[in-house]
């Protein structure tokens, strides 16, 4: 009787996660807990970091089969929205519904500041090619420098779907860790005087301009780059819903409930791609490091362009 009891207890212990897990999974669980700490205690982009890190935690619980790759589970089905490129355009629609493009319309030159991220994207692209990645994989890694999670996911599903997990986790983690990554770069590249510059008041923008803007941008960008239509089209649809003022209910849903639901699905399923066996290998670690390089250089590119614009204005 006693031996039966002991055997049952031993069997239970051996079947538990404690006995089944290896050191890599425990390391990933530790990383997930650190990220959760940053999200909750330090409030570093908690809306993104909390679901991502909890997804990572779930995916690395031994024998729970909760990763995005374990067929049949909840997170597996949620991950299909990432894999098929459904979530990024929906997120863009919500962002469009939240964004006031008035300052951009008043000062169209600021469009070029976004293009400064090209520095990070293309430097990393060349670097990744030199490290032996194929041009398609290098392109997917470089896009992390654009500092935009949905774009990184969308581009990767088209160029290198096999890298979707590590690239999504890198892009979203760096977005979440902006409060850690960007301030040192800002301090390095700007003076205190520059940081205390008060931006001048821009001209008021009429409603007609704000309504015409999304339609015009969709037409110009989509005709120029048809591949970008799903993202730019949904971004501008969201913005048109906001600015037209005739579909207030839909606009509010897009900018609140819809984007929140998609953020939960996307965050958890992206986090759950970071399983120990896939995450702790040289290629993934290489992507994470290259992504950090791209992200930092993209940020630096923005400052450099602004500084050169200020220099040019001063010279005039």
């Amino acid at each position: 009787m006693f031996s039966e009891f002991t055997n049952t207890i031993l069997g239970l212990i051996q079947a538990s996660g404690f006995a089944q897990g290896d050191w890599k999974q425990y390391l990933m669980l530790f990383i997930a807990c650190v990220l959760l700490y940053l999200a909750i205690a330090k409030k570093y982009e908690p809306l993104l970091l909390l679901p991502i890190s909890f997804g990572m935690l779930l995916a690395n619980i031994p024998i729970a089969n909760m990763s995005s790759y374990d067929e049949g589970g909840l997170i597996y089905y949620l991950y299909q929205g990432v894999k098929m490129g459904i979530y990024p355009p929906l997120i863009f629609m919500g962002i469009g519904a939240m964004t006031d493009f008035g300052p951009l319309i008043a000062n169209p030159k600021s469009l070029l500041l976004g293009a400064a991220a090209q520095l990070g994207i293309f430097t990393t692209f060349i670097g990744a090619i030199l490290l032996g990645y194929t041009p398609a994989k290098a392109g997917a890694i470089g896009i992390i420098g654009g500092a935009d999670g949905p774009t990184a996911i969308y581009v990767t599903t088209r160029l290198a779907p096999e890298l979707l997990g590590p690239i999504a986790i890198a892009a979203y983690s760096y977005m979440a860790l902006v409060p850690i990554i960007q301030p040192p770069i800002m301090k390095l590249l700007t003076t205190k005087k520059e940081r205390s510059v008060v931006m001048e008041q821009l001209r008021p923008v009429s409603k007609v301009e704000k309504v015409v803007f999304p339609i015009m941008v969709t037409l110009v960008v989509s005709l120029f780059l048809p591949d970008a239509t799903p993202l730019i089209g949904m971004l501008m649809l969201g913005n048109l819903m906001r600015e037209s003022g005739v579909v207030e209910r839909i606009s509010k849903t897009a900018e609140n409930e819809l984007i929140n639901i998609i953020t939960i699905f996307l965050g958890v399923s992206v986090g759950a791609t970071a399983t120990a066996d896939r995450f702790l290998n040289p290629e993934t670690l290489g992507i994470i490091l290259l992504g950090l390089f791209a992200f930092s250089l993209g940020t630096a590119g923005g400052y450099c362009l602004v500084k050169s614009c200020i220099g040019l204005q001063a010279a005039r």
Binding site: P108, F125, I129, A138, M216
Partner: protein, 130 residues
């Protein structure tokens, strides 16, 4: 090492940067252009309205809600007020003969807080019996 793909990578970089900057520059130009188009449409409409209002109302002034009101009757009252103010300034008695023949409003570009301050001081003096 992927040296063999380097040429392709450099070419893609060049094409990518050129395309992105061109597309954004075109967008920036179009945005500036359409804002000017709307501004052009607005300007004649405003100037016509202004012309009409000037023709109908010799002297208009904006009230607090931003609309113009006819001050014709107030202008007639303003002439004795101005005459009295000039006499007070010149320290002359009312029997000293001067005649205000015309006056011209000048644009007041003072900031709103400045105007509010002046008005407050005037009110205080009026309440104190000047």
């Amino acid at each position: 090492m992927g040296i063999e793909n380097l040429d392709l990578g450099l070419m893609l970089t060049l094409v990518g940067i050129t395309v992105v900057f061109s597309a954004l520059a075109i967008l920036a130009m179009l945005i500036s252009l359409f804002s000017k188009v709307f501004a052009l449409k607005k300007t004649p409409a405003v100037s016509n309205a202004e012309k009409n209002s000037i023709a109908n109302n010799p002297v208009n002034t904006p009230n607090s809600s931003g609309t113009n009101i006819n001050l014709k009757t107030q202008d007639e009252e303003l002439i004795p007020v101005l005459t009295a103010a000039i006499l007070a300034y010149m320290k002359q008695s009312p029997d000293f003969k001067i005649r205000v023949k015309s006056f011209r409003r000048v644009q007041d570009n003072s900031p709103a807080w400045n105007v509010a301050g002046k008005r407050e001081q005037l009110d205080a003096k009026l309440q104190a019996g000047f």
